[in-house]
Amino acid sequence: MNFLSIPVLIFSPLIVALLILSPFFPNNEIKIRRFSKAFAILHFIYSTLFLLFFNPTNFGWSYQKELTFFNVSWLKTLGITATFGMDGLSLVFVILTSFLVMLAIIASKSMIRTKHRIYYPLILILQSALLGVFCAKDVFLFFLFWELELIPMYFLISQWGDRDSSAAMKYVVYTFFGSMLMLLGMLVLYFYSFSISGVLTADIESLSMSENVFAMWFQAFIFLCLLFGFAVKLPIVPFHNWLAEAQVSSVTPVSILMAGVLLKMGGYGIIRFNIGLFPEVFSNFAPLLIILGVVNLLYGACLAIVQTDIKKIVAYFSLSSMGLVLVGLGSLSEAGFEGAVFQMVSHGLIASGLLMLVGIIYLRTKTREISALGGLSQVMPICMYLGLIICLGAIGVPLFSGFPAGFMVLVGLLLSDIEPQAFLVCMIVLCVLGAVLSAGYILRLFHKTFFGSVLSQFRADTVQIDEDGNEITVVYPKRGITKSEIVVLSLLAFAIIFFGVFPNSVLDIFEVTSDIILDFMKV
């Protein structure tokens, strides 16, 4: 039990990244790839070990560990301690993160051809930043890791995606703008709690104790600042513009990480800060959150229907399923809350699956235009079957991971004690309308790419620019997709079916945490 320590979990990817970057690591492409893949798999196993020894019933944060290394004197006086902790909620996201990073690294075998020496360390730094966000127990530590992920993300999007697009810059500016407001909220909270309770502390738990003394409008102000910061990351409609472009202009493994994990940071932030610290304000703002969620859901669905670029369809699919998360969070009931968290997990898997499919198709046909695609099932039948499983999961068919989330959110919406019952019922009808639309555009995506007799410009071999500029032709095996892609797709399909058939396996982990947060709300 004692060999499980969070700092090791978080900083090991960082150390390995530095190792790969360091001069005495052989600069040979295959060695780097193999080494980082092995490390990612080890890291995933290590994170699942956390799951085995985690007893969900214990109250509050388990695996608490304080890193004394950083406790410089001025930090101590400011009350900022580098403490990491993990409860049910963050454990789920930690495992999801390391799972998706492992898949991204396996998938980037055929997708990445240039600058390996920089690519894999960047991915590992991104991983440690994400893990840090989910395990930080200190407000400013949370913010530190929140900003840290911007740097690798910017380079990953711009260097390996299509160069000239301004998407990377737009992504950084949007997120930075959001996080500045978030920092404002944190600082105001931090100093005001100091002025009230006299002790200067940035620990989330102690902050939550002291804040209920503030004036209501003051709490609302901090609440909105924090909400705005997370709204940019979990794309809520007015601030979602960066998502489509960033997804389109980034290479597949990077967009898998972006859709799979980065969107969850926003959701996790809302749960940890907005609900954790300001329960009364949250219950006043809950109807607003529900409306925002439904708008997100329908707006994403409507946009996805008319897109011609398949990757944009997946991007707007992510937008619309994040809307469902918002509705779940806004519904204030335990079912809704757990439905929202389950939806985040299942969306992580499904969006990665869809993006993987789009990546494979793009690699073979070099085009993402939906009108130019078709008939790929004749060339890669295995990819079609796995794609079918992932698309059915995306639609929310029962016994796949999409359905339990949707069902729990809907029931949670009704069980929430927001007075106008009619408002809840019409919100349910709109959510359900979103589910129908999702069936529409996901099937359109699946049919337009796989079915049909005419074979699009499928090329058995693709010409790709290698490290030092010479063109190499990569011949794909007869069955259409390489081994690494099959591994990724089948792992994702298995996870989607597993969580669909046994949703309790995920629900039990964060059941206690959601009870704590909701009881705190009821008080």
Partner: protein
């Protein structure tokens, strides 16, 4: 002997769940078998599938026997599937209704699988078809044995998915994939309405009797739950829930607003279409209606609504089927109309009669689709009945079995008569004149198009291009088996529907009312006679009548042929209204929200340009600027000083 039987049936009923997981195991076996290139023997796949369906049939018969033995016993065992603040569990629930449905579904699955061996022998994705059939069996058994509403919703959607897969089996055909997508989306719309109803029911069940251990909304306690709900909730709220749930059933049984997907099922391979139109997805709708009957029966207006929808669909379906030329389209529209009649039975209150009618319809429709499929392949995929003719000499078996099916379906002889007569009597007892007249009109029209199809295909002038008989023993034997079933099932089961399958108290199935039966037979044979005159005998008056009635231009024919233009209306709505709205959103997204970012970038660039212009390079201008600033500062200081001194600070 009796004791042995009861113990065996006891054992079978308890382990009914094996029926559920057997097909999954078979799917795995087929998958392994087919992925080994040289060993993949088609025979092995057939035997495995037939074994699983036959075993299912044996289990079903024994559970039926068990239910007959001790009528009130409800077998139910559940495992918790999902637990938030309420518990959702999966389980097996066997009572009279589900046992009977299980028997027939497994029987039809068995026959269809037997038939499709011959039919799909030459097809290259043979194994994939059998995998789909087995998955279908898993879903339909799961649905029938569902112990609570949520589990039935789960398997209901799964049946929808498998139907989508079956319809889109030949994915190279664009029309097949489009029909599959349309079927899935329309079913999805129905399911989603059902989901809202179920969510509301779950809410009430959790709020009112939140006994934690009680499985939410299990069928055994549905009666009690619905009564408390009725007393709790205002009438129109109750009606709203009922309509929402009925919308789900309407989509499944292809009722009027959502019926154009049923025509799409003809794109699937013939055995799959047979399965779907008999005990497949439509059976799901009727069975769900039977399960939710306690909820419907409580509100009068809901029953009226069901009857209205049922009779309208029956009439429109029959009317459209009259003018169709494609054999499979006729049968598809007849499914929609027959199910409309079944729902009328439910609406009228004749629970057992409608179930009986549905079962008989299922068996006959399966027979006719199988015969149709075999016929079309033997005529080198010629599905248009106008080009068929005189097939009786060449294909006597098909002719004879098609005739049996037609007669039974329109209620003249064999098992169709029992079900049609009982339904007709209960409709007449209901007393509404329009309803009974509509029912008679429906019987007339369905008899007309069935006889029309029979005469055009099997009688009439000779067509030479009939290929040799599609002689495959599996096809022949399955058709013979099914014909025998169609002939005798009515007689065997007529007794048990009154007192075995009933809603509250056993109501005797009255089909012996002589006057009503004679009226029914008169209408049926009248329609047959008219069809005979029109299509067979060269009677001048009827030929003139035919020219006038059937020339392509007049409105009734066009309405009937294009199925009241439902497809065009729905496509127009989707295309012009909804997609235009979405494109408008897309426009906003690209230019308005995206625009803000571009505008921001531009303003920063403009400002930077302005400031750079001010650096003129002329030294003297710099000095003047500095002087101006200095003088400003000094002036301010002086003013402040003066103010200060004036104020006497």
């Amino acid at each position: 002997m009796n004791a042995v039987l009861t113990t065996i049936s006891e054992y079978f009923v308890q382990s009914i769940a094996t029926v559920l997981f057997l097909p999954l195991w078979v799917v795995l076996m087929i998958f392994i078998n087919s992925s080994i290139p040289f060993l993949a023997s088609k025979k092995m796949t057939l035997n495995l599938t037939l074994g699983s369906s036959f075993l299912g049939f044996v289990f079903a018969v024994f559970s039926l026997f068990y239910c007959i033995k001790n009528p009130q016993a409800l077998v139910e065992n559940n495992i918790t599937w999902m637990s938030t603040d309420f518990q959702i569990s999966f389980g097996v629930f066997v009572d009279n209704l589900s046992a009977l449905m299980l028997v027939f579904t497994s029987l039809i699955c068995f026959v269809v699988q037997l038939f499709s061996f011959g039919y799909m022998k030459k097809d290259e994705s043979f194994h994939r078809f059998y995998i789909y059939l087995n998955l279908f069996m898993f879903c339909i058994f799961g649905f029938i044995l569902a112990s609570n509403v949520i589990q039935s919703y789960v398997f209901l959607e799964l049946v929808g998915v498998i139907t989508y897969l079956l319809i889109g089996f030949w994915y190279k055909k664009r029309s097949a994939t489009r029909a599959a997508r349309k079927a899935f989306i329309i079913n999805r719309i129905g399911d989603v309405c059902l989901l809202i109803g179920i969510v509301v029911l779950v809410y009430f069940s959790v709020v009112f009797n939140s006994a934690q251990n009680m499985v939410t909304l299990s069928y055994s306690t549905l009666q009690f739950a619905v009564e408390t709900l009725y007393s709790m909730v205002s009438d129109n709220a109750y009606l709203a829930i009922g309509v929402l749930i009925f919308l789900g059933i309407m989509a499944k049984t292809a009722q009027i607003p959502m019926q154009n997907w049923i025509v799409g099922t003809i794109e699937a391979p013939a055995p799959a279409t047979a399965l779907m139109n008999s005990f497949g997805i439509v059976a799901v709708g009727v069975y769900l209606c039977a399960r939710f009957y306690p909820l419907f029966i409580l509100s009068k207006s809901l029953m009226i609504f069901i009857t209205f929808i049922g009779i309208v669909t029956a009439l429109i379906g029959a009317y459209v089927a009259m003018s169709q030329n494609d054999l499979r389209k006729i049968l598809a529209y007849s499914t929609s109309s027959q199910l409309g009649v079944v729902l009328v039975g439910f609406g009228v209150g004749a629970f057992s009669a409608s179930i009986f009618c549905f079962v008989v319809h299922g068996v006959t429709k399966a027979l006719m689709f199988l015969v149709g499929g075999a016929l079309i392949t033997s005529l080198k995929n010629e599905a248009d009945i106008r080009y068929m003719g005189a097939c009786r000499e060449k294909l006597p078996l098909y002719a004879f079995s098609f005739f049996i099916g037609a007669i039974s379906l329109c209620g003249a002889l064999f098992s169709g008569f029992y079900s049609e007569a009982s339904l007709f009597n209960s409709v007449l007892d209901f007393g509404n004149e329009f309803l009974s007249f509509g029912f008679l009109l429906f019987v007339f029209m369905s008899a007309f198009y069935l006889f029309r199809a029979y005469f055009l295909i099997f009688e009439g002038d000779k067509k030479d291009d009939i290929s040799q008989d599609f002689s495959e023993w599996t096809i022949k034997c399955s058709i013979v088996l099914l014909s025998l079933i169609v002939i005798f099932i009515g007689y065997i089961l007529r007794g048990c529907f009154g007192d075995f399958i009933f809603f509250i108290s056993p109501d005797k199935l009255n089909y012996l009312n002589l006057v009503q039966n004679v009226l029914l037979l008169f209408v049926v044979f009248g329609a047959g006679f008219i069809a005979y005159q029109l299509y067979m005998a060269q009677n001048k008056t009827y030929i003139i009548l035919k020219e006038k009635a059937l020339n392509k231009s007049n409105l009734p024919y066009k309405l009937s042929y294009n199925a009241f233009y439902f497809d065009k209306v729905s496509d127009w709505f989707a295309e012009s209204l909804f997609l235009r709205l979405c494109r408008f959103f897309d426009f906003i997204e690209k230019y308005v929200i995206g625009g803000i970012f571009v505008v921001l970038a531009l303003t920063t660039r403009v400002f930077s340009y302005i400031f750079s212009r001010s650096q003129t390079g002329n030294v003297q201008s710099y000095v003047t600027y500095s002087l101006i600033v200095l003088s400003g500062v000094l002036a301010v200081v002086a003013v402040l000083y003066i103010l200060g001194s004036l104020m006497g600070v």
